[in-house]
Amino acid sequence: MSSLTSTSTTTKSGAPGTTGTGRLPQLRQPLSGMTWLVWRQHRAVFWTILGASALAVAFIVFQRSQLHTAGYDPTSTGLRLMPILLGVLLGAPLFTGDLENGTAKLVVTQSMSRTRWLTTKLALTALVVVVSTVALSVAFGWWWTLYDESTAWEWTSGPTFNNTGPMPVALALFSVFGGVAIGVVLRRTLVAMVVTLGFTVVVQIVWSHFLAHFLLSLANVVTITTNKGVTFQHVMPTLPPGAHQVNWSNPPYITSDGKLLGWGTCNEVQTEQAHELCMKKADVVGWSVDYLPISQMNGLQWFGASILLALTAAVTAFLFFWGRKRLV
């Protein structure tokens, strides 16, 4: 209905062409209001992100459907860099441009509230980030389920854990909103981008430490035991695909009364017969290997992602608190 009234006001007096050049054409647009403005202002960077993500997804899907693994490692590196790139190129400049050249004043002196402007900008940015990272995460996760059978990429490794499931989304959102907050406080595009670069790199480093030293310790360790002895070739029992073997120094051998013996057992013998004899003497009946099964991956990813999303929510709250007064 609002479009109806606006049409009637613009054409109420005089037919088109009365002033020589005519009225501007009234095109029906999918976007309106603040959403139109924000999309129009940032459409170049939004389309670049969506386009680049679409290309990457297409590449991954093609490789996966051909059962190829070429390009897997560069892709996983690219995905790890994505939160940094998004934070620096999308987050940091989101408001600094408006603050630097005064268009913030132009927008807040129109009839819509500052909160509306802030909300729309953050929402559209979040939408673009979520759409591109979800697509990449799903595609890469699919590729990984192929790769984990041919090579030993464990689910606990950064390139797998952080690039699949909800993790890329959470890391990217936190990096981007952190960049927005840095930009809003520092008010200078270049400075904000440099500081955001530092911030996002630190986020990556801290996160990998957090993953390795805290998050994974929450997982339940599963032990696989065998009773077929241990051969001279030391063929370990096969772990389920993608499983992460815990701590290689743990005792790998189990005796008939359930005692665990370490790697050093019968290490010094040279021949197969001597090894078999030695193992028998030590009463070793088989392997005992601790591992983290892949079934725990999803739960831990969601737990980790929710921590990052909670931090993102805190940054957003700060942005609204700060932006109400100082965003001009």
Binding site: T10, K12, G102, Q110, S111
Partner: protein, 315 residues
């Protein structure tokens, strides 16, 4: 004409407005009233607090102390669509075309008047498909003005609107502005330091200096209560018989003196008296920051009605 019509209606009312930045007070104890429907010049030296005052009125800044009401409400509280603010830098999105800039106005303002905006742009022969970044200063100001007026504001705040324009464009845009304001009864508050330009434009004046109001009121009234006195000097000073009139400013050149006074009785004597021009009046107040401030009754903030009487009587 608007004097009687809008005598009761306030467009703006400031009570003890103050704004402190890290480096100090930019505005201090600023109280005045602007009746609706007037074209008001906001005059003051650089750093007098003009931009700060306009920004508070436009709800871009929040004052440190004091209150301000725009048409009886706090700025931005009820309907910010009633106020348009054209800042000194006239920021526009450089990558937008002229048509897109007008669309911005349409998308963000419920009361948008596309016809008014387009007509202002068209009158300057600015192509609608041109990018803002490629326009000349005058064209850009015209588009910014179209954006400000297309909003159909009841109060239009302009910060040095014509400062970067050549005289022709300046005259043309001032004409456009006045025509629009007259047609819709818009109240205009316009800061400037080109005093000569105010003469045929403003019917109301507010002079800011050192962060405070020095002079505020209807132009005719302000001019009528002041007298320009020119005569021969006595010794090294003004004639003693002039001394009992409140003095705004005096200057001595050769054997002559010129003084602007605010006489409370006819200033008769061996000198010539004349009505000051607006420029003379403004210059005198700008040069004498210590002169007693004058705020005429229509420019008094409502609850301080008595202040005017006591001040003038005491003076």
């Amino acid at each position: 004409m608007s004097n009687g019509m809008y005598a009761g209606d306030s467009a703006l009312e400031a009570h003890g407005l103050g704004m402190r930045y890290r480096r100090g007070w930019a505005l201090k104890d600023c109280s005045f009233r602007l009746p609706a429907g007037r074209i008001c010049g906001l005059v003051g030296p650089n750093g007098a607090g003009k931009t700060t005052l306009l920004s508070i009125m436009a709800h871009v800044l929040e004052p440190t102390e004091g209150t301000l009401s725009v048409f009886g409400a706090a700025p931005g509280s009820v309907d910010s669509g009633r106020t348009s603010f054209l800042t000194q830098e006239k920021p526009l999105f450089r990558g937008f075309s002229v048509a897109e800039t007008l669309r911005l106005g349409q998308e963000l303002n419920p009361g948008w008047d596309q016809r008014t905006a387009e007509d202002i742009v068209r009158a300057g022969d600015v192509p609608f498909d041109a990018k803002i970044g490629t326009l000349s200063g005058g064209q850009r100001t015209r588009v910014a003005l179209a954006l400000a007026l297309g909003k159909r504001p009841d109060l239009l705040l302009l910060d040095e609107p014509m400062s970067d324009l050549d005289p022709v464009a300046r005259k043309e845009l001032t004409g456009t502005l006045l025509a629009e304001a007259a047609e819709h009864g818009t109240t205009v508050l316009m800061s400037t330091h080109v005093l000569a330009e105010l003469e045929n434009v403003c019917d109301y004046l507010v002079v800011l200096s050192g962060g405070g109001v020095r002079l505020a009121g209807d132009v005719d009234e302000l001019l009528s209560v002041h007298t320009m006195v020119t005569g021969a000097k006595e010794g090294e000073d003004l004639p003693a018989s002039l001394a009992h009139h409140p003095l705004v400013e005096s200057r001595i050149s050769g054997r002559q003196f010129t003084a602007l006074i605010r006489p409370d009785s006819p200033a008769t004597g061996p000198w010539e008296t004349d009505k000051p021009s607006m420029e003379e009046l403004l210059l005198a107040y700008l040069r004498s920051p210590d002169a007693l401030p004058l705020i005429t009754p229509t420019a008094q903030a409502q609850d301080q009605d008595q202040a005017y009487n006591t001040r003038t009587v005491a003076a």
